[in-house]
Each structure stands twice: as C-alpha cells, then as structure tokens.
C-alpha cells in the first residue's frame, strides 16, 4: 500500500522535474536495481560477491559489441547479454561457492579486476579506456523514456526478488545465510541454492547493465571499477541490508545526496564510507531500521523486540 503510493509518485515525478533531475533519478534507479539484486546475494543468502558490477559491465559490453560489430538488434543484444551473465555466473559460482564464503569475496574481487583490465588492454576490440559508443535504446538523448525504463527495471527486479523470497527457495536461502551447516543437516543442497541465487542476482544485474549501456550511449571500463562495487555496498548497507526496500531507498537517497553535494566532491565519499562504518556498528539494519524504530523513539508505539533480522 505504501509501496503503491511510492510508485505512483515516481510515475508522476517527471512532470514537475527538469530534464537534469529526471536524468539523475534514472541513474539512481539503475543503482537501485543493482543494489536490490546484490542484496539478494549478500543480504538474503549471505554470499559476499565483490564482482556484481562486473556482470553489469560485461552485459553492457556484450550487448553493445553485438550490436556494433555483428549488426544485431536490441532484443538479441540484450538477450545474449543476459545469457552471458547467466553462463559466467554459473561458471564462477561452481568454482567458488563450494568453499568458504571468504573465498567467494576474494575470487569475485580478483575476477572483477581481471575483466576490467582485459577490457582496457584489448582496446582494438573493446575501445579500451576511450569507451565504446552504444546505440541509444530510444534513439534520443532525452532522459524521459529511460526514466520509465529504469523505473520499470527496478520494480521488475524487486518483484523477482520478492517472488523468490516468499517462496520455498527464499526460505532455503535464508536458512543458508543463517546457518549453513544446520541447513545442510536438514537436507538442503546448499551449493545448488547458492549457485541459483548467484545466477539470478547476476542475471538481474546484467539486465540492468545492458540497458544502462544503451541509455548513456557510451560504456567504458570505468563501470567495472571497484568504486562502483563499493557504492553498491554502501547503498545496501545504509539502506538496510535485510529488507526488500532498503537497498532501493539507500540507492536513491544517496544518489540524490551525492548530486546535491556536488561541490564537496572529495569529502562526500569520505563521509559516506564513515557513515557505512557507523551504520554497521550501531544501526545494523540501516535506514529501514531507523524507520522501524522511529515510532518507538517518538513514543508513538510501545516497545517491541527489535532484531537485525527481518524474519
């Protein structure tokens, strides 16, 4: 109910905002989709992938290259891009999800760096640092259609995640996050579900990335820079790691704050990272937990037990 209100507001916003802010919100929705899909991995399954942004970048490049070099259309380009993300994440998942969670973080991190490096070095094919021109999805630079595109992508991503989490699979994933050994002793095939979550999250990220390429009109290996992954983590943590809406709220609010704080460009990321540390230390549930506790603090509701875990 509150959600429908928010969506209605989002649909109507472009009418009152300038092109500049519509563009800012479009990019914010992209990050919201990335944050939500990463949350599926990290917040709900307890898998720390540090290569989520890489799948977005790979998909963007696959789609753009297919269209530029092989003359494919948007449909094929984006479909193949998502398929590539699925295949790669399956391969990567099988290699590193069998073992300790820390290995996943290390390996995805190394994977991200290597892919980014390769895209830069093989510049004759990928354009390297100069970037690659990408066909515009709606043939125009006006941000309005892309705004609705990414609003739709974000809602779709949230929908897929909600569908999973309210199903039996979601139950298994949360069990794996909370206590993998206990889950296995109850007969859940941990590796299969971990890989499944990894694939779905990467496919969602890849979808967002492919469309992103066709929105900006130019993709470059900067998309795979570790800064991007750090921002996704920041959005999710500050927004609220174990909630559905938290990552989206975190992404949108922080992107807007970053825009407003353009003047202090050096300091904003210092403040943000410090904020992440403070949030993790004291407000483990992020902004959503603040919202939840607010009625109690304002003495609107009586005390209830509060835990870092949503369900």
């Amino acid at each position: 109910m509150g959600l429908t209100a928010a969506v209605a507001v989002a649909v109507g916003l472009p009418a009152v905002l300038s092109d500049y802010w519509v563009y800012v919100l479009t990019i914010a929705f992209f990050y919201a989709a990335m944050a939500a899909s990463w949350n599926l991995l990290a917040g709900y399954t307890g898998q720390f992938s540090l290569g989520h942004h890489t799948f977005a970048m790979i998909s963007a490049y696959v789609s753009t290259l297919l269209m530029a070099k092989a003359g494919a259309g948007f449909g094929i380009g984006i479909a193949v891009a998502i398929f590539t993300a699925v295949v790669l994440s399956y391969a990567l998942g099988v290699v590193c999800l069998k073992v300790h969670g820390l290995y996943l973080a290390l390996i995805t991190w190394a994977f991200a760096e290597v892919v980014r490096n390769y895209l830069r070095m093989h510049f004759s094919f990928t354009g390297g640092d100069r970037g690659l021109d990408s066909a515009l999805l709606f043939g125009t630079l006006k941000p309005l259609p892309y705004y609705y595109l990414f609003l739709g992508i974000t809602i779709f991503t949230l929908g897929v995640i909600a569908f999973i989490m309210y199903s039996r699979i979601g139950y298994y994933l949360r069990a794996i996050r909370d206590d993998a050994i206990a889950a296995r002793s109850m007969g859940i095939n941990i590796v299969r579900y971990k890989v499944l979550a990894f694939i779905i999250a990467s496919a969602l990220g890849g979808m967002a990335g492919a469309f992103y390429g066709h929105t900006i009109g130019l993709i470059s290996p900067v998309m795979g820079d570790f800064n991007e992954m750090a921002m996704i983590i920041i959005f999710v943590v500050i927004g609220g790691m174990r909630t559905q809406i938290g990552p989206v709220v975190g992404a949108i609010l922080i992107r807007i704050a970053l825009e407003l704080l353009r003047e202090q460009s050096e300091i904003r990321i210092i403040i943000l990272s410090a904020l992440v540390i403070v949030v993790m230390r004291f407000f483990n549930g992020g902004l959503m937990e603040v919202f939840r506790r607010l009625p109690r603090w304002l003495h609107l509701k009586s005390a209830e037990s509060v835990s870092a875990y949503e369900k």
């Binding site: 830069r120 970037g131 009109g217 800064n227 825009e259």
Partner: protein, 409 residues
C-alpha cells in the same frame, strides 16, 4: 508488522519527497537580465576514478581567465561580470553527462570547458549537440571528439595525430631510427601508440610498442624488453605516476639516460617530477607548446607570472588552455552581443580570436581538424637537475630557435 513499517516509511519519505521537489523544482535556463553575471561551466575530474591533479590545474587556469576578463576587459556584454561554475565529472561518462546537464539546465551556463578525459568528453559531446550548448575540450585529445562534426564542439588542443607526426618528424631530423614506445592503457596512451605506429610507417622508421596497465607498479619486464631491442629513442606515454615510475625504473636497469627518452607533454618541469625521480631525471626530452621568451600575446604575458606567484609552479599546458578558452568565450560573447549559447556558437564559428599563444580561428574541414586549433609543438630538454622551465634547452624545431643538439650524459 509490514504495514506499520511502510506507514513509517510513508510518513518520512513522502514529505521528504515533496520538500525535495519544492527545493529543486523546474528551472529552465532563462536569459539573464542586465548586470547579472554570465556563467561559464568548468566540467573536469576532481575525484577518482578521474584525475584530480589535472582538474585542479584546469580550474586554476579558468579562474585566472575570469580574473582577466573582469579586471582587464571590463567584463562582457557591456560590463557584465563573468563567473565560473565548477562541476566534477569524476572521470565517469555518466557523471559527466549529469554534470553537463546541471550546468546547462540548472546554472544556465553559456558554454562548458575543462573536459580532460576522452571517454567522458565523447559522452558529453553528444549531449552538448543535443542541448545546443558549446563544449570546449581542454585536455581530451581523442580524434573522435572533433571527427564527430558536432557544431558545438571546440578544441584548442594538440591532437593525437598532429603530435605523433611531430615526434616522427623530430626523430627523422635527428637521425633516430628505432623508436621504443611504452604506453599506458588509457585512451591517451593507446591512441598515441596507434598514431605513432602509423606515422612511423609512413616515414620508414621502426617502432616497438608495449602497453602497460595504468595501475602497474613494476615496469621492469617491459623496460628490459625494450632495452634488449636497443632503441634510439624511448617515447614515454604515461600520465602521472606511471610516467615517473617509468623514468625511475628505466634508470634502475640502465636504460635511461643512456638511451634518450621523450616525455609526451611537459611533466618534467613539475617539481613533483624531481621529487619522484631525483637527480636521475636529467637529460629527459619533453614536448611543450611554448617557451618563455617566445613571441606571445599580451594575454599569455599577463597570466604566466600571476600563475607562478599563486601556485609556485609554471602553468601547465592544460591550465593555459583553460585560461585561453575563457578568454575566447568572452571575446565571442562580445561578438555575438548575446548570452544565448546558440548565438555564441555562431560567433565562435565566424570570428577570429586572440588566445595566449596566438590567433584562433575555428575551421570546419571534415575529419580531425573540425573546430580544432593546434598550438605549435616544441621539443625541450632538461639539462640540469631541477631545471627551471625558463632555462630548459630548446632542441627542436629550428624555426623556433632549436639548435638540433641533444645533450648526452
């Protein structure tokens, strides 16, 4: 439980959203009333993954440009002051586009300068054409920028093919036949690597090139390989730390200064070069676009001592470029007699303007020279430790006073 959370959410988020809309609101750029300042946008990298060292200096140059316009020219359009609005593009195309939109649609600037990274400039180039606001490339050297034939792009830059050909002419004149190219994997490095290879092929010279990732720490393998090939000249296509690292590590393995090395722009005059490399940095050759004592306009003569006094270093080419572009914009504004960006564009294309080093006229041939004015190129050499730019030896070309002799250790 869920609905109560959404209720709390709604209580907070919806009013916040309304406040936000009120604050930001629709703000189309409107013509400024008389006496109001004319704004020029500066869109450069000030935070990673962009290069903040470059953005800083571009900003310094632009600020001095504004000072000149307001103090010496008496402002523009009958006494209106000029001011700059600075935005950070963080070396990322998406942020560059956002910054450009903000400058144009929120701040109402008449033109944007300061672009340094080619990938960002290429992305912003498209938006400038869409929004019809002039965009100046201050340091982005990819030929694709001007090849786009965007009526709103203007470049006062030494472009990659021009500079590469200049280097090949220099090598040929000095009898250097084997050129080792060591380039970073940015658009700058790879663009030059390709251009040098092409120009060398036409001139019949040999090139061996190696590309390295910009984040590299150990360049020894590639320098060893270059050394084994016994080149006559090594072209250093690094920017910032990799450039200094290359000199240092080449010195460690005995490649430099025994073999001559050429820097692709004027970083050997910076104090941080000597801090990084120490006394081993002598004898390096470098590319510059002016030499103190060269015939320069009064615009150039005005800014150089002021810059040195404020920032304790000689102005870099990009800083001078930013300064010059502010002045060109100011002159064009006066020619256009209007602060509408479309009129400004017409004036820019039709007029002749004075820059810090000479006259500027934007032509419209197809290809790389579209709206591009290139400064002259010089090769200088640092013959002593911590040598001041004014004392550097001018080696080439002869028409500017170069004596054609390279000092060897």
């Amino acid at each position: 439980m869920m609905s109560s959370r959404f209720k709390a959410c709604a209580y907070l988020v919806v009013p916040l959203l309304c406040l936000f809309i009120l604050l930001i609101g629709p703000s189309p750029a409107t013509a400024q009333p008389k006496g109001k300042p004319v704004k020029i946008g500066v869109l450069s990298p000030y935070s990673p993954p962009g290069d903040p060292a470059a953005g800083k200096r571009i900003r310094w140059g632009a600020e001095l440009g504004v000072k000149y316009v307001n103090e010496e020219m008496g402002g523009v359009l009958n006494g209106r002051p000029v001011e700059i609005v600075v935005e950070d593009d963080a070396g990322t195309p998406a942020d560059g586009i956002a910054g450009f939109r903000k400058l144009v649609q929120k701040d109402g600037v008449v033109a944007v300068l300061g672009q340094y990274h080619s990938s960002v400039c290429l992305a912003v180039n498209k938006v400038s054409q869409d929004l019809e606001v002039p965009l100046f490339s201050t340091g982005a050297s990819s030929p694709a920028i001007t090849e786009s034939k965007n009526p709103y792009i203007f470049s006062i830059m030494s472009l990659t093919p021009d500079r590469a050909k200049f280097w090949i002419d220099f090598a040929k004149a000095m009898g250097l036949k084997k050129l080792g190219v060591v380039a970073e994997d940015t658009d700058y490095g790879t663009g030059f690597e390709t251009a040098v290879k092409n120009a060398a092929k036409d001139a019949g010279l040999d090139v061996k090139s190696i590309i390295f990732p910009r984040t590299i720490t150990d360049m020894t393998p590639m320098l060893l390989e270059t050394k084994a090939w016994t080149p006559d000249l090594v072209i250093n296509l690094g920017v910032g730390p990799p450039a200094y690292l290359m000199v240092k590590q080449a010195n460690d393995i005995g490649l430099f200064p025994k073999t001559k090395m050429l820097a692709s722009f004027d970083w050997p005059i910076r104090p941080e070069y000597w801090d990084a490399v120490g006394a081993n940095g002598v004898y390096i050759l470098y590319t510059a676009y002016y030499k103190p004592g060269m015939l320069m306009t009064k615009l150039g003569d005005w800014v150089i001592p002021k810059y040195k006094q404020l920032y304790n270093e000689d102005p870099t080419f990009y800083a001078l470029n930013a300064y010059g572009q502010v002045l060109v914009i100011a002159q064009a504004l006066n020619l256009a007699k209007s602060d509408n960006p479309k009129d400004l564009q017409k004036a820019l294309v039709s007029g002749k303007f004075m820059d810090w080093s000479g006259e500027v006229k934007f032509e419209e041939p197809a290809g790389v020279k579209w709206h591009n004015v290139s400064p002259p190129h010089l090769i200088l050499q640092q013959t002593e430790v911590k040598q001041d730019f004014t004392k550097s030896k001018l080696v080439w070309p002869p028409q500017f006073g170069g004596d054609g002799k390279i000092v060897n250790p």
